[in-house]
């Protein structure tokens, strides 16, 4: 059975969830890597791997969601709780621009004191500075909709009109409600997450999709997550990239141990093989470090993600991997690929400078 599934995948035929599960459970690491590599070159025939230069801005760490895996959030009264003011935002934008960055990954906690008007102004401010705003994961949008009494569609439309350029795929964790009930019961449900992405795609906003694996989910649930993404992509075509990463235990309540290097590479590979309709798969050097982050380029990833001028969420769990642009380029090139700087929508950045969208 394994042999037939490998043949099917080699020919680029779509796998059903049972086949994918069997492949994931039975195939050796390098067979998965080979299939993922084949799939990767089917999507992106050139030996090119991309990277982005952007900055994470977390506008607040106050969050009422209280997810068990999170080491970032604070309660409103906590001494280190913050809401980013305009001067700080301005300084971070200026620094990003001075480093050649063209985009901001703009996310924050579910903070009931911030209204949609405040968000619209912040987005417009960044947009007016010439930056592409890749912002608001689905749980933030669901939270805003509930707070404002608006539909998800209308919230996205207003943010888009304010200048939002695309939406990050965070907060997906595992899109199976059994799992979400356990690790993030107060956050957007599977159907709400999908509703945000469907509406964003219909409104012409591209998004990414993520998977945080290696906590309470089963392998079958990981595959179900991939299937959910693939089905929506069949419908809308709005996902640009898929980004899997392992849950990082640290200063949170979920504890446990982080998935190891081989689990990461296997999961990355099965994602590339199964998601035959998503153009790009990103390596997670932030969670994996430089070594596995680079090796991921041979296990289905075609993108190294961002240099992340600032990263706070994974760092708060005690994981501190850093990388500058030259280092990313060196890793891509010594892995045997041409390094290409891209924007949020995966278009090459010409000559290293590019006006924002």
């Amino acid at each position: 059975m394994l042999k037939e599934i490998i043949e099917t995948a080699s020919r680029g035929r779509r796998l059903d969830p049972d086949q994918a599960l069997h492949l994931y459970e039975k195939a050796d690491l390098l067979s998965l890597g080979r299939l993922a590599q084949t799939a990767r070159f089917r999507h992106n025939p050139h030996p090119v791997a991309t990277y982005a230069v952007d900055r994470n801005i977390n506008y607040t760490d106050i969050c009422v969601s209280g997810c068990a895996f999170c080491a970032f959030y604070k309660e409103k009264e906590a001494p280190e709780a913050y809401v980013m003011d305009r001067e700080t935002l301005n300084a971070k934008c200026d620094e990003t621009l001075s480093l050649g960055g063209t985009q901001i990954l703009y996310q924050g906690g579910l903070n009931p004191d911030l209204d949609l008007f405040w968000h619209e102004q912040q987005v417009a401010f960044m947009k007016n500075k010439g930056l592409h705003v890749h912002g608001y994961s689905p749980p933030e949008i669901v939270f805003m909709a509930r707070k404002e009494g608006l539909s998800i569609h209308d919230v996205i439309q207003r943010l888009k009109e304010a200048g939002l350029g695309s939406i990050p795929g965070g907060g997906a964790e595992i899109l199976v409600d059994r799992v979400r009930q356990k690790i993030s019961p107060n956050k957007a449900s599977t159907s709400q997450w999908l509703e945000v992405m469907r509406n964003a795609h219909l409104l012409g906003l591209k998004t990414t999709a993520t998977m945080m694996f290696g906590h309470v989910e089963t392998l079958e649930e990981r595959i179900r997550h991939l299937l959910t993404i693939r089905e929506l992509q069949d419908e809308t075509g709005g996902f640009t990239a898929f980004i899997p990463w392992p849950y990082q235990p640290g200063k949170n309540t979920l504890s446990g141990r982080a998935a190891g290097g081989t689990t990461y590479l296997r999961t990355l590979a099965i994602s590339r093989i199964f998601l035959d309709n998503v153009p790009h798969v990103q390596a997670s050097w932030v969670t994996q470090g430089h070594h596995i982050g680079q090796i991921a380029l041979h296990f289905g990833a075609d993108d190294m993600g961002s240099t992340m001028i600032e990263e706070n969420v994974v760092a708060s769990a005690g994981i501190k991997n850093r990388m500058n642009r030259n280092e990313i380029i060196r890793l891509i090139e010594t892995a045997g690929f041409k390094a290409v700087w891209r924007d949020t929508l995966y278009k090459p950045v010409e000559n290293g400078v590019k006006a924002a969208q």
Binding site: E7, S10, R34, G260, G261, T262, H291, I295, T334, G336
Partner: protein
């Protein structure tokens, strides 16, 4: 040369035919016919863009010998001194004798440390230090005797060829006589350190005071003649060329053809922190996997290829076990040398953690002794 089981069952047509790089594919065909690789094959391994293909061939060789097994040992690394007169350019461990943080353990202090080892079921002490200007041969023999003591199950893997050369010349005896004395005192095996890169160019630049390649190989040959099994290493990713790496592997293979006493090869990725070469980035993950896979393919007469977790990190070690490595060293307890150079791993791992890590990688852990026999 000892014949090995055929790799054919582990490198089936549907795998070989999908290897993207023709040079790597040709190597696979050579190995299927039982032919030995040549230096240009070694270079092709390093220059390939097909990391997976290279790994598949190396892994087929590993699997043909050991199936899904991955070996480890309950051991303790003990560095009896950090005083060393060699002052190598890649080293962050050595100290001058009068430096504030210089230390030398007396035999009884060393024995005390081992008595308090956190490692249960301890099987081996890995004992290396530096070229200390003042210690006599009696110190080393006393040290070995103090460490074996009553515990017959405990084996001593001690002293690199560099230390052997140093202590023999200080004592005014031949290295062969020195090895005989050490063997009588309890030496069971020798580690593979001090080989660095067998290149005069690199040696002159980075470690001019250290014994040269011929001498390192001579001492290992002598140890082999006395029935002392040894390991071999390659310190890579600093200023050596790929040709020099390949040459290094071929010199080891030639020596092994002659004296047959090498047990394991360990590729040591250079860690630049706190060394005079701190400006270098150190080898990448892809480079490390290629080096391990290439060693497996060229060193066809070496039984074991180690993925040394201290220097690789746990994630890469798991991966390396699928790129030709079959052994990941051991519990170690207290590693100092790589950690002085910025290794970010723990100084030791519990046996439980090693087992979990191997099982997560889809392999079967097997505890071994110093002589690579199962326990």
């Amino acid at each position: 040369m000892k014949t090995h089981p055929s790799i054919t069952p582990f490198l089936p047509d549907n795998v070989l035919s999908r290897i993207a790089d023709p040079a790597v594919q040709a190597m696979g065909e050579k190995l299927l016919k039982g032919e030995r690789l040549e230096p240009n094959d070694g270079l092709a391994c390093f220059n390939t863009q097909d990391l997976i293909g290279l790994g598949q061939i190396a892994s087929a060789v590993k699997q043909s010998r050991y199936g899904d097994k991955a070996f480890f040992i309950s051991n303790h690394h003990l560095n009896y001194t950090n005083v060393c007169e060699n002052k190598c350019g890649f080293c962050a461990f050595h100290r001058d004798p009068h430096s504030e943080d210089a230390y030398t353990f007396s035999p009884s202090e060393a024995a005390e440390l081992i008595a308090r080892s956190p490692v249960a079921d301890l099987r081996e002490i890995h004992l290396v230090g530096g070229c200390h200007p003042d210690l006599g041969l009696d110190y080393y023999t006393d040290l070995l005797k103090a460490l074996t003591g009553e515990k017959s199950a405990l084996k001593l893997k001690a002293f690199t060829a560099v230390e052997i050369d140093h202590m023999a010349s200080k004592a005014g005896i031949s290295s062969l006589d020195c090895l005989k004395r050490l063997k009588e005192a309890g030496l069971s095996a020798m580690p593979g350190g001090g080989a660095e890169v067998f290149s005069k160019r690199v040696r002159d630049a980075l470690f001019p005071n250290k014994i040269n390649a011929d001498r390192w190989l001579e001492i290992h040959g002598e140890a082999h003649s006395l029935g002392i099994g040894t390991n071999a290493t390659l310190l890579f990713g600093h200023m050596e060329t790929l040709e020099e790496r390949v040459k290094h592997l071929f010199r080891l293979r030639e020596q092994q053809d002659l004296t047959k006493g090498f047990r394991a090869f360990i590729a040591l990725p250079f860690h630049p922190e706190n060394t005079p070469l701190a400006h270098l980035p150190g080898p990448t993950g892809v480079d490390i996997l290629k080096t391990i896979a290439t060693a497996r393919l060229i060193l066809d007469n070496f039984a074991h290829i180690k993925a040394y977790w201290v220097m690789l990190g746990l994630k890469l070690t798991q991966t390396a076990l699928h790129f030709g490595a079959d052994d990941l060293e051991g519990t170690i307890a207290k590693e100092r040398i790589a950690h002085q150079a910025g290794a970010a791993t723990a100084p030791g791992l519990t046996r439980k953690r090693l087992v979990e890590m191997i099982e997560e990688a889809g392999l079967v852990p097997e505890q071994r002794d110093t002589f690579h026999q199962p326990i």
